[in-house]
Structure formats: C-alpha cells, structure tokens
C-alpha cells in the first residue's frame, strides 16, 4: 500500500508545531498502525530527519498510551479498537491520512503526537481509589455483591485512561473518564465510605485541569476503545447531585 500522511510535528512543549506531509510506501495491510509509523520513521532516520514521536507501550490495547487522531477520529476508524490494534487493512491504498495528537488544554502536547496525560493521574489522586488497610487477602465472596452491580462495575473498570473521550469530545470534556472511575467504585461495597467526596472531588479536579463540560453529544462513547457507555455519565450526574445536596461537610 501507498499512503500520503499529514502528521503534526512539534519539537517540544514550547515550540510552534505544524502539519508535515510524508509519503508512506511499501506498507503492508497486515501492519498495525504503529508498525506503519515505525516504517515511516525508519525512512526518516536513514535520511537524517527526526523520527515522528508517538507514545506506545503494550501494543495490545490495554495500557492506553497509544492514542492519536486519524482523520479526526480518536484511535482511527475501527470501533472498539486502540491505535495499536488498528490495522492498515482498515484503509484504502492511496488514502490520505491526517494524524494529530489529542487536542485539549488538559493534555498539552509534549512532542509530535505525544501528549501529557498526567491530568488524569491527578484526577485519580483526587478520589479514584478506596482507602483500605492492607493485610491478608479476604476469602473470595466474603463480601456479597449483586451480580448486576458487579457486571456494571466491571464494564466501567474496563477504562484504560487513554483519553480518547477527551480528544473526541467537542468540548474536550473528561466526563466519560471520570464517570467510569466514579461509577466503578460507587457500585462496589468497598467504595461506599468515600462515595460522596469521591464524586465531588473528582469533578472539581477535572474542572481545575481545564477540561470542558458535557453537552450530551456522545462523541466519547462512539470512539471509546473499551465501549464505555454514556450511561455512566448519567450515573456520575446522579452521584454528584446527591453528594452536593447531602454531603455532611457543607463547605465541600
């Protein structure tokens, strides 16, 4: 396959970036998208140019580090698939591709296609955990959990924090991410003691990191590689409203 690529190139956080056009020849349809970029980079290195920086780690769809925009769609055209699991057979020979980093105030570009997603870590630090003392493991099933709750918590826990929801959202909102984390823990017995402050603090942290507000357009769920549903956003809204009205410390 032959492709024409338009790729965002930016030296560092402070530098001014721009789209640069490359020809990608000798691409096999069986390559993954990242392997295609590897091939392009080898070509760039032999001609003495800087290779295109992109983030990746597991290359098997579980770490969440590899996301880029392909023709304006987070993680490219295939449903329920991370960029690393996307294969070149999803494209036509001769196609033109626009490859860009996630765009959000909360995700500043570090270099080329690599963005700083540490805002998500800080949102997690604001409440995406349960405080339990460590010790020997409990017996399995010692804490009863309703099957439907366990299933729903599990579906939310599938979130890999890749940031595609923010990238796809017209408002660069992180509501789907926050709702998956809040939803998962609010459904489980271990999450109950910190349930209210979790919802309040994680929403505040999201706000402070500069992410936008949800306008219920559902672009996020369409691109989520783990198919997290926007039903979790409704659940987060419920958690937040309830916590706002009933949280014992009136200052929060």
């Amino acid at each position: 396959m032959k492709l024409k690529l338009h790729v965002w190139r930016q030296k560092n956080k402070a530098a001014q970036g721009r789209m640069v056009t490359y020809d990608a020849d000798n691409i096999s349809p069986n390559m993954s998208f990242l392997e295609m970029l590897d091939v392009v980079n080898e070509g760039l290195i032999t001609t003495g140019e800087d290779p295109i920086a992109f983030a990746h780690d597991c290359r098997e769809g579980i770490c969440g580090s590899c996301g880029v925009m392909v023709n304006g769609v987070a993680h490219g055209p295939q449903d329920a698939t991370t960029t690393c699991q996307l294969h070149m057979r999803s494209f036509q020979d001769g196609e033109e591709l626009y490859i860009e980093p996630w765009r959000a105030k909360g995700f500043p570009v570090l270099r080329d296609l690599v963005v700083d997603r540490s805002a998500f870590d800080r949102i997690i630090q604001a409440g995406g955990f349960v405080s339990v003392n460590t010790g020997s493991a409990q017996d399995a099933n010692a804490t009863p959990i309703r099957k439907s709750d366990a299933d729903e918590a599990f579906n939310a826990a599938a979130c890999i924090g890749c940031g595609a929801c923010v990238a796809a959202c017209k408002n660069a909102s992180a509501m789907l991410f926050v709702s998956a984390k809040v939803g998962q823990l609010s459904l489980l017995p271990q999450g109950q003691p910190e349930r209210q402050e979790r919802a309040l603090n994680m929403v505040s942290a999201m706000h402070e990191e500069g992410f936008g507000n949800c306008t219920n357009q559902y672009e996020c769920e369409a691109v989520c590689p783990k198919q997290i549903s926007t039903d979790y956003i409704a659940r987060l809204n419920r958690e937040f409203i309830k916590a706002t009205l009933t949280y014992p410390d009136a200052k929060k």
């Binding site: 338009h6 965002w8 789209m19 925009m69 023709n71 304006g72 769609v73 626009y98 860009e100 765009r103 959000a104 105030k105 909360g106 796809a168 017209k170 408002n171 660069a172 909102s173 509501m175 929403v203 505040s204 999201m206 706000h207 500069g210 992410f211 936008g212 507000n213 949800c214 306008t215 219920n216 357009q217 559902y218 672009e219 369409a222 691109v223 926007t230 039903d231 956003i233 409704a234 659940r235 987060l236 809204n237 419920r238 958690e239 937040f240 409203i241 706002t244 009136a250 200052k251 929060k252």
Partner: protein
C-alpha cells in the same frame, strides 16, 4: 453562599441549572402554544383568552417574573458552559470530524442566540407593539386582528418561521438532554426519551409555525 457557588459553578451543577430552567421554559412554550392555537377557533376565542389572562394580573406578573428568572439563569449558565468549552480546546484539529453528534446538539449556541433575538423582536412586536405603526395605532385591544395583520407581511411571517426552526432544533436536543443531565437514565425508558425528546421539540415548533404560515397563506383571515 459559598456552598451554593461551589454547587453551581462546576461542569455538572451548571448543567443541572440549565436543565431545570430549560424544563420551565419548555413548560411555558407548551402553555403559550395551547393558548395561541385558539386563533384557529376564531376571534372571540383568542380575544376572550387574552382578556381572561388580564383578569389575573397577580398571576400574570408572577409567571412573567418566574419566566424572566428562568430565562436569565438559562442564558447565564449557557455562557458559562460555552466559555469553558471553548477554553478547553485552544488548538482545534486540522481535520475535524463528527461520529455521532447530531446537528441539533452541535448548534445549541447558535439556535439559542436566534431564539434570544427572536424573543426580543417578538416582545417588541406583539407585547410592546412598537415595530409596526399600524399595530401601535390599533386603539382597542384586539389580539386576533393584531396577529392577522402581523403575519400578512412576508418578512414578519418568514422570520417567525425561521425562529421556529431554531426552537425545534434547540428543543429536539434539549428535552432528551435534560434527562441525561439530571441522571434520569435507565434501560427501561432511555429509548423512549431519545425518541420523544426530538418528537416533542419538533411538534411544538410545527404547531407554532402553523400560525404565521396559515395566516400568510390566507387560510386564516
């Protein structure tokens, strides 16, 4: 008061206030169109209705005050939310794309501004009666004649119809959106909400638009 500020100046609280005031404004539209449709019954019906409203000035003014508060709140938080959203993506995509967001959902700010402009014109037209010298000159109060005279003019009828397109779009996203924002979400009724929201929105707009259209086309004289 700092508690209240905290409760509403955040991504969810602001949207909750917009949802609540949005329902109030939609409730007004339903009441308003119900009254307006009396124009099809005849001059006596609509004039008696308008006269009837005037018999209860306290109720009328309380309703107006409530509407004004809802309206200002809705717009204030719309501005707050929109400015936050613009700031959240300082650098746009070179190639922008949309997977499933509807046209209505993407034009809420535009349709809202069209509605605001329309409402100001509409109040000037029929409530304060300052846009049309013939209407201003109508000595005796006759709502029926005023509306007929207003909508015989193509520019006036046309601008009302355009405004109703904006209202139909705004509500077809807005009504269903209220449920999501308030957390009213369950597989039992999600499908009904996503169908009925746009249906009610478009229905209200069509009923409103039917008045200027049928007067302009001479179906109602």
């Amino acid at each position: 008061m700092s508690w209240l500020k905290h409760a509403v100046r955040n991504p969810i609280g602001a949207k909750v206030l917009m949802a609540i005031t949005g329902i109030m404004l939609t409730g007004f539209l339903v009441a308003h169109i119900s009254g307006n449709l009396l124009i099809f019954v005849g001059p006596q019906a609509i004039n008696a209705y308008a006269e009837g409203l005037r018999q209860f000035p306290a109720v009328l003014w309380a309703a107006r005050a409530g509407l004004l508060v809802a309206f200002v709140t809705h717009i204030y938080f719309a501005a707050y939310v929109t400015m936050g959203n613009r700031a959240a993506r300082p650098q746009p995509y070179a190639f922008s794309n949309t997977v499933q967001a509807t046209l209505a959902s993407r034009s809420m700010v535009l349709t809202g501004m069209v509605m605001l402009a329309f409402i100001i014109f509409h109040l000037a037209h029929f409530t304060w009666r300052i846009t049309d010298s013939e209407i201003s000159a109508m000595g005796e109060f006759d709502v029926y004649q005023m509306v007929i005279r207003g909508f015989r003019q193509p520019m006036v009828a046309g601008s009302y119809v355009i405004a109703m397109v904006a209202i139909g779009l705004h509500l077809s996203h807005g009504i269903a959106s209220v449920f999501q924002t308030l957390g009213l979400n369950h597989p039992r009724y999600n499908r009904a909400v996503r169908f009925a929201g746009p249906a009610i929105g478009v229905g209200i707009a069509l009923l409103f638009a039917s008045i200027p259209l049928s007067i302009y086309l001479g179906l109602v004289k």
